[in-house]
C-alpha cells in the first residue's frame, strides 16, 4: 500500500488469513498502519498491489459499488467516533443499513437489536441526547442488525470511559458469539486484545507477530 508523492509505503508484505468465527485483534503503535489495514479489509481503501478475498470473492476485482453491495450484505462496522447520523434517532440509525438494503421489516429488526444492547427505552432519542457508551451501543446494534459475516471494529472503546468501555466490549463479544460473526478489531488496549483468539502486531507497516 503506497501513499503520497514520495511513495510512502504504509503496509507491506501483509499476509493474513482470518477464518470464519475467529476473533482477531490488530495492535500496534500509532502510525503502524492498523487503520489502513482495516480500511483495506473493508474495501474502503484500495492497495497499490495485492489482493483481499472476502468469502472467496476478490474485493479489488470489483468496482467500488460492487464492494459497497458486498459490504451491505456481509460487513458490519464499529468506529471509535461512533459515526451515528446526528439527525436520526437511535432507532433510525440502526434501521439505516436495512433501509439501504430495502428490508421491509427494518423497524422490527432494529428494535430487537436495540433491546438486545439495552436501549429498548431510548429508541427515539437523538445521538446528542445519549451518553458516549450509549452511542457506541447504538453503533453496535447498527453493526449487528444486518447479521454481518465480518465485523470490523476500529478502537471501539477509544472514546469511552472505563465502565462504558467495559460494557460495550462485553456486548461486542457476546453478540459476536451469538451471531457467529468473524471479528477483526483494531485496538491499543492489550487487555482487550488478549480477549481475542489471535493478536496480530503491526510495526512500520509489517506484521511482526
Amino acid at each position: 500500500m503506497k501513499s503520497g508523492a514520495n511513495d510512502l509505503v504504509i503496509l507491506r508484505e501483509i499476509e493474513l488469513a482470518v477464518t470464519r468465527g475467529e476473533a482477531v485483534a490488530v495492535v500496534g503503535a500509532s502510525g503502524s498502519g492498523k487503520s489502513t489495514l482495516l480500511a483495506i479489509l473493508a474495501g474502503l481503501d484500495t492497495p497499490s498491489t495485492g489482493s483481499v478475498e472476502l468469502d472467496g470473492q476478490d474485493l479489488f476485482a470489483m468496482d467500488e459499488d460492487q464492494r459497497a453491495r458486498l459490504r451491505a450484505m456481509s460487513v458490519g462496522f464499529v468506529f471509535q467516533s461512533f459515526q451515528l447520523l446526528p439527525a436520526l434517532t437511535a432507532l433510525e440509525n440502526v434501521m439505516l443499513p436495512l433501509e439501504l438494503a430495502n428490508d421491509d421489516v427494518a423497524d422490527a429488526k432494529a428494535k430487537e437489536v436495540l433491546e438486545r444492547v439495552g436501549l429498548g427505552e431510548r429508541l427515539h432519542h437523538y445521538p446528542k441526547h445519549l451518553s458516549g457508551g450509549e452511542q457506541q451501543r447504538v453503533a453496535l446494534a447498527r453493526a449487528f442488525v444486518v447479521r454481518p459475516k465480518l465485523l470490523l471494529a476500529d478502537e471501539p472503546t477509544g472514546s469511552l470511559d472505563a465502565d462504558s468501555g467495559a460494557e460495550v466490549i462485553r456486548l461486542l463479544f457476546e453478540m459476536n458469539r451469538e451471531y457467529g460473526t468473524t471479528l477483526v478489531m483494531v485496538t491499543h488496549d492489550e487487555s482487550l486484545a488478549a480477549r481475542c483468539g489471535r493478536v496480530v502486531r503491526l510495526a512500520a507497516g509489517r506484521i511482526v507477530a
Binding site: 480500511a39 459499488d65 458486498l70 439505516l96
Partner: protein, 831 residues
Amino acid sequence: MKQSWKMLAQSTRMLARDWRAGELRVLAMALTIAVAAITSVAFFADRVGQGLARDAHQLLGADLVMVADQPWPREVAAQIERAGVQRAEAINFISMASAKESSLSGVKGVSENYPLRGRLRITKAPGAPDAPAERGPAPGTVWLEERLVTALDAPVGSRVKLGRAEFEVAAVITLEPERSASFFNIAPRLLMNIADVPATALIQTGSRVWYYLYAAGPPERIKSLEKSIKLGRGQRIDTLETGRPEIRQAVDRAQRFLGLTALLAAILAGVAVALGARRFVERHLDGCAVMRCLGATQPQLLRLYAVEFLVLGLAACAAGCAVGFVAQEAIAATVAEVIRAELPPPRLLPAVQGFLVGLVLLLGFALPPLVQLKNVPAVRVLRRESGAPKGGTIAAYAAGLISLSALLVWQAGDLQLGLTVVGGFAAAVAVFFVAAWGLLRLLTHRKIVALLRNSMLRYGLANLRRHARGNAVQIASLALGLTAVLLLTFTRNELVEAWRRSAPPDAPNRFLIGVQPEQLEPLQAFLAAHKVAVPDLYPMVRGRLVAVNGAPVSEADYSEERAKRLVEREFNLSYMSELPGHNQIVAGAWFSSTEKALSVEQGIANRLGWKLGDELTFAVGSERFSARITSLRKLRWDSMKVNFFVVAAPAVLEGFPVSFISAFRLEAEAQPVVTELAERFPNITLIDAAAAVRQAQGVIDQLINAVQFVFLFALAAGLLVLYSALVATEDERRREAAVMRVYGASRAQVTGTQRAEFLAMGAAAGLLATLGAAAIGQVLARRVFELDLPPSAALWIAGPLAGLALLSLNAWLSSRKVLRASPALTLRDSV
C-alpha cells in the same frame, strides 16, 4: 416497480428526518418564496390579460376607434360610411360644471348610437338597481357619474350648468364600457348629446379637445377601413395596445415593478438555495460516508438524495403556488378600484411556470453540490480529512444560472428587463467577490496586522486572511443579500418618490385655462373684487412641431418614450418680452421682442437634441412659423407657476389665435369663489391641480400597494440569503473557538476575536452593498423606468451601518452559542 416505490419511501423517510433536524428549512423557504413571488405576479398578469382580451371590444366601445386633437375632416366620416359599417362620434374635453356646487368634469358629447359595442348602464339614483341604456343621452339632458352627482349635489331631475347652456340631469351612469379600462379618470364623467356641445360655447381657442370617431362592423370591412385611413399628425387609431398611452404607461410601470421584483426574489432565492444546499452537503458528508460504508452504492446515494430533494421541491413549489395564489388575490383586491373590471379567475399556466422556476432553481443550484455527496469516499469514516472531491461545480452552477435566466426572461415576457436583472445580478456577484477578496487582502495585510496592538484584533484579522477565499464568498453573499434589502427599502422608496414626482411635472394649486382675450379685464376685476391676488396671465398658442432645421420631424425619430410623447403632442407655446422671475437663462441670451427667436427649456432641448441656433418650425392650425433658438432656460417645475417648454419673442407669435393661462393659489375655503367664477366665465376651466394630483397619486398608490406584496417576497428572499451566508461558517467557527478555549483562551478573547472578524466583514459587506444598491438603482431608474434618481445620503449612511449592525448582532449571537457549548463536546462532535 416495487423497487422504485421502496426508494421513494426511503427518500421520503430521509426527507422527513432531515426536515425534522431543520436541515432543509432554509431551502424549502427559499423555494416557496421564489415560486410565490413568480406565481403571484403571473396569476395576476394572467387575469388582467384574460380580462382585457375578454372585454376588448367593449372596452373600446367599438371595433375601431379613431382619435384626433382637431376635428376629423368630413372625408374620413364619409370614408366610414362608404365602408358600409356603423359610425358613432364623440367629443371629449374637461370643463367646469355647476349646480348647487361646481366641479371639474370630464365631458363627453356622444352621438345617440354610442357605444357601438358594449352597453352603458344607468340608474335613477346612486345605489339603485341599474339597467342597460338603449341609447346615449337625449338632447337637452346629461348623465352624470355617481361621483359627480355628489360633487355637484345634482340628483336626477335637477339642472346642471355647463358653459353657456343648462341641462337636465336624466340619469346616473353606473357603467361606461369605454371607461372601465380607464386607470386615470381624474375628472368624473358627464355624458351629453353631441348636438348640444356648440350651445355650451366651451370649445374655443386653446381648449384641449379630443375628437373620436367609432366604427363597428364585420371584421373584414373594419380591417380594410383601417388600412385605407391615412392618419395625419395628431391623429391615431386606438386599439387596446396603443390606446391611452398614459394608462398603458402606468400599468406598464406597475407590471415592470412587479416583474422586476419577482425576478429579484427568484434569483435571491436561488442564492439562498445554493447556500442552503452547500451547508446541507457539508453537514451530510459524514453521514454519506457512513452510508457508503454501510453498503450504499454511488448511484443509490445519488438517487436517494435526488428524490429527497425532488419531493421537497415539489412540496415547496406547491406551497409557493398556494401562497402566490393568495397573494395575487390580495393584489387584485388592492387594485380593484383602479381596474374597475371583474377579473376572470386565473388559469393553470402560471402555476406551471411557478413549478418550472422552482424546479430549475432546485436543480440548478442544489444539484451541483448534491452530486458531490455521492463522491464522498467511504474511508472518510476512518480518516476525516478525506473530504468530498471538488471541481466542475462552477460549470454546473453556470448551467443552472443560464437555464434559470432563460426561464425568468420568458416568464417576465420582457427581454430587456430580464437581461438587465440577470446580467446585473451576475455582474454584482462577480464584482462583489473580487472586491471582497481584494478588500480582505488589503485589510489583513501583514504590515497592517502587525501595526495592531490588540491581540484579539490581530488574531481576528489573521483569521480572516487564512480563510480569505471562503470569507470573500461569505462577504459577497452578505453584500448580495444586503444589496437586495437596501434596494428594496431605500432605493425603492426613492424610485417610488421619483415616480410620483414624474406623474405631473408641473403641479401647482389652481390652473385657469382657456381665458379668452376679451375676458382678461373682467376676470382680473372679478379676482380683485374677491380679494384673490391677481395672477400673471400668459398668452398661449397651441402648435405642433413639424421641422427642426428644415428637416421634417416625427415621433419615429426618437427612441425614448418621453421624447416620442413630447413630439406627438401639441406644444403649449407662449410669448413674452420679459424673462419670468422663476426662469433662469443657462445658455445664450434672452431675445428682444422684435427678434425671430425662441427660448427653450434645457431639459427638453437635451431630450430632443436641440441646440442653440437650431431652427424650429411649428404648425398652428394651417399656418406655420419658424424661429431660431437663442437661449436655453432652467425652470423650477415645483415653483407653482405656469411654465412653458418653448417661449417665443412676441414678434413671432402675435397675430396667432391665442388664449390665456394662469396659475394661482386659492385656499380650500374659497369654494364660493370657484362656483361664482364658473357661473360668470363658463368657458374658463379652473383645475384644482392639487386635487387632481392627489387623485392621480391615489391611483399610483394603489398600484404601489399592489407591488408591495411582491416586494415582501423579495425582501424575505434577501433576508434568507443573509441568514444562509451567516450560518454557512457557523460550524467551523464553533470548532475554532473550541480549540482556542482548549488552549486556554478566555471567553473574552474568543468573543473578541470573533467580533473583530465579524466587524471587518460587516463593514466590507455594508460598503459593497451600498455601492451595489446605488449603482443598480441608477441603472434601473435610467434604463428601465426613465426616471431621474438623485443620489441618496440616507442610503450611504444606512448601508454600511446595516452591515456593521447585522454582523455585530450575529457576532453576539454566535459567540453566545460558541461559549455555551462545552469545548469537549464541540470537538468530539467534529472529530
